[in-house]
């Protein structure tokens, strides 16, 4: 019931906004999103799956029996945490758009809330069809948000965004259907799209070869969304052209749909293939980390820099997932939250600056610490959080992902298929991140004030941040501090769910170790004989 409420409330709000007068749109949207946030917090309080691997709030509606279409929702600890991230960011995104969006407000806030419904639906779906519908539907609101309220290059950015993701997910759909068919055949022709049943079937009944194909198809769909090198090229364009709130939601939640997909589908569905191919995926994510970081270094557009830094950061997230040990996967989940908070905040900050100066070029900006001290304080704070300053949130998750990759060697405490080399090279990404972000801060926040900088009097905004803008940033800052000091909030609460997901890998690695041991032993005995 609560699950349906979380999905349908924003949708209802969206419809109400579309039909009510435009001047009420902002307030209605804010109230709706706050109510939804309240519901999600209440859900989190009564949720009985914290620290356990169980599902709560489950509900199902039978739909088309012949195809086995049953709409099932429910939450485990991982999905509820991501739902909380979504419902937390959405009021902020709406509040942050109050000044920036002056045209077609009804549609704008309608789409934002529609987007929220779809994103929540993705996290709460327990059957593939509902998941896929919501996963795809997230594209539509974002397409319109970029295409209508974006900046100069918006048409190209929106189409590229949609086509990339749409293409990827169609291939994933074909893979899902094939899997469902294989499951149906094994069950006497009764179709089912329940994720748990299909995961179990895929992991146990498919051969290594079949799993590898499944892995490839899933990686195409989710890899585009994450985005993973080399299918990341839509992201910088879309992030840069989107309006501020669009970038925040895109970076904050939409990218997590990809990593959530990896966690929810790839890891449980094709374990043997994952073990086989994890090094390859890890290499791709490391290339992404370094390559995007190097691109960031030469960026002159601040927003583009943050956009590319997302590619780099999400690389750590994928690396953590494919370390295939509890530390890495928990770190990765924590990373999803952290990246949502800190990168979301950075996009807000850049949006606020852009509304005042109408430029994002580093060459035209400087010395903002003098003119906008409050803004500058927040900027430095969130950059440090993003860089991974110990004590703030980014550090813990990044560190966990790296350590996890480091120890994921064949013989480590947590056996896996990565190893120290992967971690060592990926760690360069942390260094690069510190460099490009701090260089950017140095130029924009400090440095000399540029003559070309003119505060736009017509924007209706004071020189420094307004109370509204501070209200947007403070919750994010609090989130960064709290998760920096108390990452256990996420890690402990999801530990069992993660352990359940990874159980199959423990068995696989034990088999591998045992297999190696047996091989060595037999060789030894053979030699002795």
């Amino acid at each position: 019931m609560i699950s349906w409420l979380l999905i349908l409330l924003p949708l209802l709000g969206s419809i109400v906004i579309i039909v009510s007068p435009g001047r009420l749109a902002r307030q209605l949207a804010l109230v709706t999103s706050l109510v939804v946030f309240g519901v999600s917090v209440a859900a989190a309080v009564v949720f009985d799956g914290w620290g356990r691997g169980t599902w709560d709030f489950s509900s199902s509606i039978e739909w088309v029996k012949e195809w086995g279409l049953v709409l099932q929702v429910g939450a485990d600890s991982v999905s509820l945490i991501l739902v909380l991230l979504t419902t937390f960011l959405m009021p902020l995104a709406i509040l942050g758009s109050f000044n920036a969006i002056q045209t077609r407000r009804r549609e704008y806030y309608g789409w934002l809330l529609g987007l929220q419904a779809a994103m929540t639906g993705v996290f709460l779906a327990r059957d593939l069809v509902l998941f896929y519908v919501c996963f795809e539907f997230t594209l539509v609101p974002m397409f319109f948000i970029i295409a209508i309220w974006g900046s100069k290059n918006r048409a190209r950015a929106s189409v590229k965004f949609l086509i990339y993701t749409f293409t990827g997910s169609l291939i994933t759909l074909a893979a899902f259907l094939t899997l469902a068919w294989s499951h149906a055949q094994a069950n006497g022709g009764q179709w089912s799209f329940e994720i748990a049943a299909l995961s179990h079937h895929a992991a146990s009944a498919l051969s290594l070869n079949e799993q590898a194909w499944l892995l490839l198809a899933l990686m195409i769909g989710f890899g585009v969304k994450v985005p993973l090198f080399p299918v990341h090229t839509w992201l910088p364009l879309a992030h840069t052209e989107a309006p501020t709130a669009g970038s925040v939601i895109l970076a904050g939640v939409l990218l997590k749909l990809g990593t959530y997909g990896l966690y929810r589908f790839v890891l449980p569905m094709c374990p043997e293939a994952v073990v086989e191919w994890a090094p390859f995926v890890a290499v791709l994510s490391i290339i992404g980390i370094l390559y995007a970081a190097l691109i960031c270094w030469v960026q002159t557009d601040v927003k583009k820099l943050i956009a590319y830094s997302s590619v780099s950061h999400l690389g750590f997230c994928v690396l953590g997932l494919f370390a295939l040990n509890p530390m890495g996967v928990e770190g990765s989940i924590l990373y999803m939250i952290n990246h949502g908070l800190s990168t979301g905040a950075l996009f807000f900050l850049i949006g606020m600056m852009y509304e005042r100066y109408h430029t994002r070029e580093m060459g035209e900006l400087g010395g903002l610490a003098r003119t906008m001290p409050i803004w500058a304080t927040f900027m430095v704070f969130f950059v440090l959080a993003s860089v991974g300053l110990p004590g703030l949130n980014g550090f813990v998750s990044e560190f966990l992902c790296l350590i996890a990759a480091f120890t994921a060697g064949e013989t480590g405490a947590y056996p896996g298929v990565l190893g120290p080399w992967y971690a060592a090279i990926a760690a360069l990404g942390m260094v690069l991140a510190a460099m490009y972000l701090l260089i950017m801060v140095g130029k924009v926040v400090f440095g000399p004030t540029r003559a070309s900088m003119k505060h736009d009097e017509h924007s209706g905004l004071p020189v420094d941040l307004t109370v509204r803008e501070i209200t947007v940033l403070v919750p994010l800052a609090i989130g960064c501090v709290v998760l920096g000091i108390q990452p256990d909030l996420v890690i402990d609460n999801t530990a069992t769910a993660v352990a359940d997901t990874l159980a199959v890998y423990q068995d696989l690695f034990e088999d591998r170790v045992a297999g190696t041991a047996a091989f060595v032993e037999s060789a030894f005995q053979g030699g002795a004989r």
Partner: protein, 497 residues
């Protein structure tokens, strides 16, 4: 004999409508003539309403038809879509002439008026489609197919004064005649191979031949030729060449008609013909037929989509995209009876609604008294006609197959059927094709809703009749809401009983 007549009740209702409408279209009174479309609608509704009683399961069980379950769903689907096709033409047919009469600039001349005739041909073609679904021998099938097609040639020719309509009609007619010759030749060979014209006997003969391993070339070649010829009705490659020109040349309400009725007739004929030879006793289709269908399906969707990408005229774009949809439909046909054929019928209904919705938007708009040509004419449509722009975007989204719109579920059904019959590669090709089609369908979403106005699109205005745009709105709403009752749609289009 009585049984056969009983099955013909929906068609007889439509033929009755033909007579009434033909007379009504020629009366002097303007008001009575205004009733022509509504009378037509009434007869279509009556035929649709009769079908569940006529084609009930008990009656069909003893009907001796090859696909006894086909008639009921076919009749319902055809009548639902036909109502939409009819409504979008209200105020379009004979528009200039009727306006002149209403304003007293001209007097009514039965020789010049074409309103009644348009609706007569409309009903005849629809009756042809229904007859295809209950065909029990090859002669019947041939006549039904031609009854579905012949009126459309005339409809194209008289649809508008433009010389391009005449050209389109000539092209359509000659190529159509050639295709008819092809499949008639194919029918002759099939007769030669089996010695019977009755479809059920033919099925038995082929099953016998297959069981003995003696399926001869005569039968195969006959089937290939027949499929090739009927492929013209679907605009399947290589018989697709006429589609873009004819669709562009015809007036928009006729184009909408061409996009559905002949295609549905062709698809049903495919299902019936293929059932005589394939899927008997657990064996699939004979290899040459299967290969041909596979290749045709891949080529049809790919060429259709790529051609649609290149179009500047919105009607040509939709024409090419309808070629691609035939390619998707062939997936279900290859998948065979059961899930495959059911998916085909569901997709026909869903495609019919989406296609009709998009043409209804075009039909409701004009620029300087003529219909819209270029895609650019739609740019910034939302400024003056927000509802039409929204309806266009929704129907394009549905044709693209974007969830949660209705089009997605049709495609899902086809994909499921394709995969369940082991045609994964075909489904992958279709998936990639869907992605290609996103490029041009997105233009139909983006231009009306997001682009800036230009000089051409500024001059776009609504036509006087409210019915085309109401049709567009209702159909667009259906595209959003119908997924809720997907189970019912599935049951209605289930032909396996």
């Amino acid at each position: 004999m009585i049984d056969k007549l009983w099955f013909l009740v929906p068609e007889l209702i439509l033929f009755g409508g033909v007579v009434v409408v033909a007379i009504l279209g020629l009366v002097q009174s303007n008001r009575l003539r205004g009733w022509v479309p509504w009378t037509t609608a009434l007869f279509i509704l009556a035929a649709g309403a009769a079908s569940p009683f006529i084609y009930c399961d008990e009656a069909m069980g003893s009907s001796g038809l090859l696909l006894p379950g086909l008639a009921g769903p076919a009749c319902l689907i055809a009548c639902i879509v036909a109502i939409g096709l009819l409504l979008l033409s209200i105020g379009r047919v004979d528009r200039g002439y009727e306006t002149a009469i209403a304003q007293g600039r001209a007097t009514f001349d039965p020789i010049r008026a074409t309103g009644g005739e348009y609706h007569v041909f409309f009903l005849l073609s629809l009756a042809g489609l229904l007859l295809v679904s209950i065909a029990d021998d090859l002669i019947w099938l041939f006549l039904a197919l031609e009854l579905a097609s012949l009126p459309t040639y005339v409809m194209v020719a008289m649809s508008r004064g433009s010389i391009r309509a005449q050209e389109a009609a000539m092209k359509y007619f000659f190529l159509g005649a050639m295709s008819a010759a092809l499949f008639l030749y194919g029918f002759a060979l099939l007769y030669g191979a089996t010695g019977t014209l009755v479809l059920t006997e033919m099925q038995a003969a082929f099953a016998d031949q297959i069981a003995r391993g003696e399926l001869g070339m005569l039968g195969i070649v006959g089937m290939l030729l027949a499929l090739l010829g009927i492929g013209f009705k679907l605009a399947a490659v290589p018989m697709h060449l006429y589609a873009a020109d004819v669709y562009e040349g015809a007036a928009v309400h006729v184009t909408a008609f061409l996009g559905f009725i002949p295609k549905a007739a062709g698809v049903m004929a495919f299902m019936i013909l293929l059932s005589t030879m394939g899927w008997a006793e657990g064996v699939g289709l004979p290899a040459p037929i299967l290969i041909m269908l596979w290749v045709v399906s891949v080529l049809t969707m790919t060429l259709g989509n790529i051609a649609a990408l290149l179009q500047k005229s919105v009607k040509r774009m939709l024409a090419c995209s309808s070629i691609a949809h035939s390619g998707y439909l062939l997936i279900g046909i290859i998948a065979g009876p059961g899930a495959g054929f059911n998916a085909v019928m569901l997709y026909l209904l869903i495609y019919g609604i989406g296609n009709t919705a998009s043409f209804a938007v075009l039909s409701s708009l004009q620029r300087g008294g003529v219909e819209l040509e270029s895609v650019e004419d739609l740019a910034g449509l939302r400024h003056k006609h927000p509802w039409s722009a929204t309806a266009m975007a929704i129907s394009a989204g549905s044709l693209l197959g974007f969830p949660p719109l209705l089009g997605f579920w049709g495609k899902l059904a086809l994909f499921i059927a394709g995969i369940a019959s082991g045609r994964l590669v075909l489904v992958l090709v279709a998936a990639i094709n869907s992605a290609i089609s996103a490029w041009y369908y997105l233009r139909l979403v983006g231009l009306p809703l997001m682009a800036d106005r230009n000089e051409r699109s500024d001059a776009v205005e609504r036509i006087d009749s409210p019915w085309p745009r109401l049709t567009a709105l209702v159909l667009a709403a259906m595209l959003i809401m119908l997924p809720i009752i997907l189970g019912l749609l599935y049951a209605v289009t289930d032909i396996s009983s």
